[in-house]
């Protein structure tokens, strides 16, 4: 049987198709744009095409993310918190702290050894430490977003950026530019800021897994977080797809429960 998950996030829509075992059969990542219903349909079509499947072969689809109610093809919705938890636990079945850095918000989700959520936290109504923060800073520095990871990795020094607020950080960055600080050091300082904001949110317990688009495009963030925590931060095979993958796993489990009760 085939199951689908669709994660309509603030920045990107992700679609995943899995088989009974949870193995990925097809996927897609595209901009969410302004029409969530259309992007969800397009994402699922692309994933189906990649997997060589027809929509009729999919047993059930779950949707998550800000646009979850807009996914017309979804049988049920779950929060992205549930889906990121399910995705992370599928790859790392143990007690976990899941760190999801998304375009608009960060989440810290704690799971026990059975994969049940024991708590979660979202960032406050503030862009600090989110993907939006890095996007804004890339714009200020006139850098392509995809160049940030490489620049941070190349850095031999690190600029200290103390402010919490995105606007204040931008001001700090401008003053560092004026002082001749290298761009690599600035970007590493920005990454440090993201890591600090995440670490302020909760106490990290058990194995730590990083998910979401920001981790997918900036794996150096996971390395920096590993150093701060003193233990290896795990990355699932497709961090950005983790929510959609988890949604598909939840659709699979839901169907299994239905069959068991029939």
């Amino acid at each position: 049987m085939v199951f689908g998950g669709i994660d309509i996030g603030a920045s990107a829509t992700k679609a995943a198709l899995v088989d009974d075992s949870g193995k990925l059969l097809g996927s897609a990542v595209l901009r969410s744009g302004v029409d969530f219903t259309a992007s969800a349909a397009q994402g699922m079509d692309q994933a189906l095409a990649q997997a060589g499947l027809d929509a009729g072969q999919v047993e059930g689809i779950f949707a998550c993310g800000y646009g979850r109610k807009n996914a017309a093809m979804a049988q049920e919705t779950r929060t992205e918190i549930a889906c990121h938890a399910a995705g992370a636990y599928y790859h790392f079945p143990q007690a976990l702290t899941v760190v999801d850095i998304g375009g608009q918000d960060n989440k810290i989700i704690k799971l026990n050894a059975q994969g049940l959520r024991t708590s979660f936290k979202m960032n406050r109504k503030c862009a600090a430490g989110t993907g939006a923060f890095l996007e804004e800073m890339a714009l200020r520095l006139d850098l392509p977003l995809e160049s940030l990871n490489g620049l941070a990795q190349e850095a031999t020094e690190e600029a200290t950026l103390g402010a919490y607020c995105t606007v204040f950080t931008a001001t700090e960055v401008l003053s560092k530019i004026r002082d001749g600080v290298k761009v690599q050091a600035l970007v590493k300082g920005l990454f440090r800021s993201v890591v600090k904001r995440v670490m302020e949110m909760d106490i990290f317990e058990g194995a730590v897994v990083m998910t979401g688009g920001v981790a997918a495009h900036n794996p150096y963030l996971a390395e920096m977080l590993s150093l701060e925590l003193g233990r290896q931060v795990l990355l699932p095979p497709r961090p950005q797809l983790n929510g959609a993958w988890g949604a598909a796993i939840l659709a699979r489990d839901f169907r299994a429960r239905q069959l068991a009760s029939e």
């Binding site: 800000y66 779950r78 929060t79 992205e80 918190i81 549930a82 918000d105 049940l116 959520r117 024991t118 708590s119 979660f120 936290k121 979202m122 406050r124 109504k125």
Partner: protein, 411 residues
Amino acid sequence: MSEKTPPIQATKMMKKLMADHFLALDRAAAEGSPKVAWCTSVGPAELLIAMGFEVYYPENHGAMLGASRMATDTIPVANALGYSPEICSYLTADVGAFLKGITPLTRAYGIKGVPKPDVLVFNTNQCRDVQDWFEWYGRHFDVPAIGVRTHRGVGEVRDYMVADVAQQIQDLIPTLEKVSGNKFDIDRLREVVGLSKQCTEQWRGVLEYGARVPAQLNFFDHTIHMAPAVVLRGRPEAIEYYDTLLAELVEREKMGYSAVPGERMRLYWDGMPVWGRLRMLSELMTELKAAIVCSTYCNSWIFGAFDANDPFESMARAYTELFIVRDEAYKEAYMKEHIERYGCQGVIFHDAKTCPNNSNSRYGLPQRFAEVHGVPSLVINGDLNDLRCFSDEQAKTNLEAFVEQIEEAAA
């Protein structure tokens, strides 16, 4: 169990009582008699009523500004005046509305403006902001702003605290006699304190319908039906109202009604309501079949210590033993007792940006509830009135995820 819950009929009576209350205030302000006193919601209202004042509660007006979402337009006016967006958004919404010359009373009751005060009487048991708020109006109208400075962070309520507050209440009398032109009458005060006691005991009875399974009323209902306990306590009308409501609740329970049809989860709310989003939150929780059955906020108008035989000391005790005045250990024990008694499976803490005194998630209480008592918590960031501090989407995701988490654990 019925899947359809008809509206509560007593609400019509409450609407009339509230209209009468505001129209009486409007008339008094226009005619200059009786004199008008402004009072904090948990202030010495009984003394003011006993001395013949019509009593107006600016916090109630602040909540109306929030619920009507007029606050969104009025808060920035006070911000521009130098009243920070970080301070009480009742204060900023109210002062801003006054400066803009608008009030929700116009649409609700056809009243042009808030009633001009002859005296302003605060009690800092809520916060320091109420004093600053009342002093602004005191300067504007050139009328006395007097009040009671309550002890804060109180563990055990000690006799010296009660004696101090009781003396402060008595010290208000000379000014109140001068402004009202009426002589203080201890027997009248005893009578009013007795009425207040009766009202708050009835309000306790109403709140306890939340403890029924399924709950007969939830937090969102409480925020509506608390109005008489806030603004009409000390008056017979409030008692009549709660008599009517309680009688109706008895019948509703017999009919098998419930606040949230199909209730499958029970939660506790700590902190201020998000006045401008009550409907959205209520609909969301109903959709999730999760009933918020008890709250710190609505419980705050139960004054068990009132005693007509000892009006000053009992008022002092009642207004000091409030949750908001107490230390963390008391708050933890209080909430634990209510969570157990009401059968709550989790706590929603509302961390209101501009109301630190009524936000109890800032000193590790949610974590202690999880670790020590095994009760999961959710913290929602928002505000009582300033919707610039509230994200609908974040709140919805948080609440849905919290309900999922509790269900998952129970499965």
